[in-house]
């Protein structure tokens, strides 16, 4: 095992870790905003009030780790490095927007269902987590879609035969 310090690799891994933290931050942002507003408004802090933050933190941490590992792996491949980072940036933008916007829309639209939601705490947590999971899935879809679109020309080129080589179709034509 090599113990030599590699600055470029350390920078890449540090950047991947920062991205993972950013993904975590945008997922927990809505819960933090709601919690800090209430606390700033004079609601006493309590463990019970941290339920939404806990759900968001679990989801955000999970997704952050997935992003970190993927970016760290993709960053080692020189050719796909820009594609990986561009796709990741798109995913982060989508995640930031959807994780907050979807919650605001869904909670606003479900205003008439407050009593049943408040009556059974798990339904509120399931709703909160479910909406954020949808945002994560959408961000993941954006990441994969953008990445595939970016690497498509390379893959086409790889699938094509080297210059001068005959294609299967050419060979068939010659045979006839």
């Amino acid at each position: 095992m090599s113990t030599r310090f590699r600055p470029a690799r350390a920078v890449r891994e540090g950047a991947a870790a920062l991205y993972g933290l950013a993904a975590l931050a945008v997922v927990v942002a809505p819960a933090l905003i709601i919690g800090s507003t209430a606390t700033g408004g004079g609601v006493a802090p309590s463990w019970q009030a941290l339920d939404l933050l806990a759900v968001s933190a679990v989801l955000g941490l999970g997704y952050g780790v997935v992003c970190f590992r993927r970016l760290r792996r993709q960053s080692t491949e020189t050719r796909s490095r820009p594609n990986a980072w561009i796709a990741a940036a798109h995913a982060l933008v989508a995640l930031a927007l959807l994780s907050s916007l979807l919650l605001a829309v869904v909670l606003h639209e479900l205003g008439s269902l407050q009593a049943p939601l408040a009556g059974q705490e798990w339904t509120l947590l399931a709703l909160w987590g479910g909406v954020q999971l949808v945002a994560i899935v959408a961000a993941e879809a954006v990441e994969r879609g953008v990445f595939r679109w970016l690497v498509r020309p390379e893959r086409r080129a790889q699938a094509a035969p080297p210059d001068g080589a005959a294609t299967v179709g050419d060979r068939d034509q010659r045979r006839t």
Partner: protein
């Protein structure tokens, strides 16, 4: 490192999207999440002693709160503190300063926005009197909005759109400031009614309750026209205290021609307040006002959901009352 055409396009779209998303989040979505109270609140589980208050001809304790109509966690936190305030110093009256229902119609949301948060106080027999707010029927009337207000008045047992009640040494005058043109040149019925009602009031204390504040340093600010149309009537009859909501904060003015104006609109949501030259105390907090009248002294405390004291003030009854 050179970028391919696709990489360049995607990177440019990413930068544009990030800038746009950052703007939308910072300007719209995150402030909305902070400003509104969208997460349902847990039902308070307090059980209060029934009718534990004492009202005599010279003593009254009441609470004043406005803009409570979310049914969310912050609204429930304020309602729970009001119930705890009842435990410590019971009161038999809540003057509600309007906007009892947001995010829908009162028929559908009465349980969410009122019966559930205020259940302990309602079970204890506390009376609620409402000054109609703009979200209780919106500013511009239609048949549907009038129905909405009528439904609300029926559900709360409120006698009329504007009315007068007496409790111990205090006469309360409730206005419907959502009426179009209440402070404008055309509509004077309600102001005329107030003029007459105040003239015939013989109680030691006169308190006027309405939703739109005549004076405010909050987000909505002072209500246009109120200073010209309403304030002269209040001053002519030496009103002691004017309670209002609409701005989602707490503010007390210095006495203006002997009248103290209070905005107590922190019943569920929060908006900023910037103290002005007439402000004696102001804070952007969730709160309610706990008021004790004892003879010629009125003491009010503005209380946060965590029990913290935001403001405390004392008024003395006018000479000759």
């Amino acid at each position: 490192m050179s970028l391919t055409r696709r990489q360049f396009l995607a990177a440019a779209a990413g930068v544009g999207g990030a800038a746009l998303t950052g703007g939308v989040l910072a300007d719209q979505v995150w402030p909305l999440l902070g400003r509104e109270d969208l997460v349902p609140g847990r039902t308070p589980e307090l059980v209060l002693p029934r009718q534990a208050w004492t009202t005599t001809p010279d003593r009254l304790t009441f609470a004043a709160v406005g803009d409570t109509g979310t049914g969310g966690r912050q609204a429930v936190a304020v309602a729970t503190r009001m119930a705890q305030g009842y435990e410590e110093n019971p009161y038999g009256l809540v003057t509600h300063l309007g906007d009892i229902c947001y995010y829908g119609r009162i028929e559908n949301r009465f349980e969410d926005v009122f019966l559930r948060p205020y259940g302990p106080l309602i079970e204890a027999g506390v009376d609620v009197e409402l000054a109609i707010g703009n979200h209780d029927g919106e500013v511009y009337f239609s048949d549907a909005r009038l129905d909405e207000i009528e439904t609300e008045l029926r559900l709360l047992g409120t006698p009329a759109r504007y009315y007068r009640t007496s409790h111990g040494p205090v006469d309360f005058f409730y206005l419907d400031s959502s009426t179009p043109g209440l402070f404008g040149p055309g509509a004077t019925d309600q102001v005329d009614w107030l003029d007459d009602a105040l003239a015939t009031s013989t109680s030691q204390w006169k308190v006027v309750c309405l939703h739109h504040p005549p004076y405010s340093s909050g987000r909505h600010g002072s209500t246009p026209g109120a200073e010209e149309k309403l304030v002269p009537v209040l001053e002519r009859h030496a009103v002691d205290l004017v309670l209002a909501g609409h701005d989602h904060n707490y503010e007390r003015t210095v006495p203006l021609d002997g009248i103290t104006y209070v905005v107590s609109g922190g019943g569920a949501k929060l908006t900023p307040v910037r103290p002005s030259r007439i402000t004696a105390a102001a804070a952007s907090v969730l709160q309610y006002l706990h008021v004790e009248v004892d003879g010629d002294r009125l003491t009010a405390r503005c209380i946060r959901p965590d029990g913290g004291l935001v403001d405390r003030f004392t008024l003395r009854a006018r000479e000759g009352r």
